[in-house]
């Protein structure tokens, strides 16, 4: 069985601005995942909605929630409802598209986010779904030429570098948590490893890991 809800605070929580945990808090979480991967302010944001997200995003505040996450806000930040205006004030172009077909990642609450920066040409695509109560899965990431297809449940750790470079990550992780799955991806730029972790890491634990691997992404 897939264990998506690993903490009692996934059930009692999050503290959030209403009205919908899957369409607002969850959308914010997908945006935050995109923010963690992109690691800079984009010039252009394109959001593709599917199924329930496509039908009800306006009513649920999904638009501002997703943008607030991309800007790095927490779901209970009082700026959440104003995120679209705040982003446009920074000169960010935002497009929302209601896709008529079924979700390509097979979930009714799907958002696919494309972030780009016209100044440096950086582009990433993140496919996420909101599975209820503010909890999300990330089922697709395109970055740096890698086409990453995680199983979905978080936490996920992405570490660029060769098999040899991964030794210290593996060593450090073994002291912290069980690795449910380790997958290798290849691109013209080298290798990248995806670790599906059994428990959520504390911020200080992620910082410690990042000391040796400055380009890692923790979702």
């Amino acid at each position: 069985m897939t264990v998506n809800y690993k903490s009692v605070f996934d059930i009692i929580g999050p503290i959030m601005i209403g009205p919908s945990s899957s369409h607002t808090a969850g959308a914010c979480a997908i945006g935050r995942a995109a923010n963690s991967i992109f690691q800079e302010t984009p010039t252009d944001i394109v959001v593709h909605y599917y199924e329930s997200f496509a039908q009800t995003h306006k009513g649920h505040g999904t638009d501002y929630a997703i943008i607030s996450g991309i800007l790095g806000f927490e779901p209970d930040d009082s700026r959440v409802p104003y995120a679209i205006g705040l982003a446009r004030d920074q000169g960010i172009n935002i497009t929302f598209i209601e896709e008529p077909e079924d979700s390509p990642i097979n979930h009714p609450n799907t958002a696919i986010i494309e972030l780009s920066n016209s100044k440096d040409g950086k582009e990433v695509t993140i496919a996420g779904c909101s599975i209820g109560g503010g909890t999300i899965e990330i089922r697709g990431i395109k970055m740096n030429g890698f086409d990453i297809k995680p199983k979905g449940p978080l936490p996920i750790l992405l570490v660029p570098g060769s098999e040899v470079d991964q030794q210290n990550v593996t060593d450090q992780l073994s002291a912290l948590t069980k690795v449910n799955e380790k997958k290798q991806y290849q691109s013209a730029k080298g290798d990248l490893f995806e670790y599906d972790l059994d428990r959520r890491l504390k911020p200080e634990e992620v910082k410690e890991l990042a000391k040796n691997n400055t380009n890692l992404v923790y979702l």
Binding site: V3, I17, T56, K58, I131
Partner: protein
């Protein structure tokens, strides 16, 4: 991690520990946080719940941007003080607390999702009513939330808690079941009785559809939390009286998962079926999202 109701009940019996204690221990194990950190985090959730129960019933009450919902927690409060209620003051206090919380949610106020925002009124509705009824201390209220959360994890990992995948039974149904099970424990019932309360609460709401008018978490979501809390009180009382569900809790949870998967997508948070598809529901949607509104956005 406790993956079934039976595992949780068995562990409580074997260790002679309350369920909330097992849930706290599980959280310490998975998060590597201290007991104090975990306890304080739940205390913050409790404070947010207390604030929303209060805010929704103060003054004129709170109103959503669309005007579809709001002000009814205050109506219930006034009715309680002016008239003799039919179902008793305790029941209507629970309904008031639940409606107040969900009106705050619909007005884009701050709430604690339990387990979701759409069902965020059910558990506080229960808890703040039991607080007065049973003279609960702050510590007991926090214990209630851990027990409710522990059962909620089992529901979420086995059947899901999203209206878009399982209908409202997965949201208000889960919240009601969590509240019923936790209420039994705090009232001095056995772990088995908590499981029976959970099973009865879900059984009574099995098949409840998710049909938000205009796709908004307003109609019928706010009042669905009233039935969530009423059902939780009834299921908890029946379990404490010694009634049993006959179908075991874990089988009920599995049935909820199957029923949810069998619901057509029109009844899973698309705003295309049920009350959302009534002539009035459609008119409301057109009024809110008509051309004039889109032009402004």
């Amino acid at each position: 991690m406790y993956m079934s109701v039976a595992e949780l009940v068995d562990a409580a019996k074997k260790t002679k520990k309350p369920i909330y204690e097992l849930v706290i221990e599980q959280e310490m194990d998975t998060s590597h946080n201290t007991r104090e950190e975990i306890w304080d985090a739940m205390g913050r959730n409790l404070d947010i719940m207390a604030a929303s129960v209060k805010k929704g019933a103060e003054g004129e009450g709170v109103f959503s941007k669309t005007g579809l919902t709001g002000g009814e927690a205050v109506k219930i409060k006034n009715y309680r003080s002016d008239k003799k209620t039919l179902s008793g003051d305790l029941m209507m206090q629970a309904v008031q607390n639940a409606v107040a919380t969900n009106e705050v949610n619909s007005s884009m106020g701050v709430i604690c999702a339990t387990p979701t925002a759409g069902s965020s009124g059910t558990l506080p509705g229960m808890l703040f009513t039991l607080k007065d009824r049973l003279d609960l201390t702050r510590d007991q209220m926090i214990q209630f939330l851990f027990t409710a959360g522990g059962f909620g994890m089992v529901l979420a990992n086995n059947a899901g808690i999203a209206g878009a995948t399982g209908g409202c039974q997965a949201e208000v149904g889960s919240a009601s079941a969590m509240g019923a099970a936790a209420a039994v424990e705090i009232a001095g019932g056995t772990p088995e009785q908590s499981a029976e309360a959970l099973a009865m609460a879900i059984s009574n709401l099995l098949g409840l559809v998710c049909d938000p008018v205009a796709g908004l978490v307003e109609l019928p979501c706010v009042k669905r939390n009233a039935i969530g809390v009423g059902n939780a009180l009834i299921a908890a009382d029946m379990a404490l009286a010694g009634c049993t569900n006959k179908i075991p809790a874990d089988e009920v949870v599995a049935a909820m998962d199957k029923v949810g998967k069998g619901l057509p997508s029109t009844l899973r948070e698309t705003g295309l079926g049920g009350l959302a598809a009534t002539p009035t529901g459609v008119r409301m949607k057109e009024k809110i999202f008509g051309k004039s509104v889109e032009a402004k956005a």
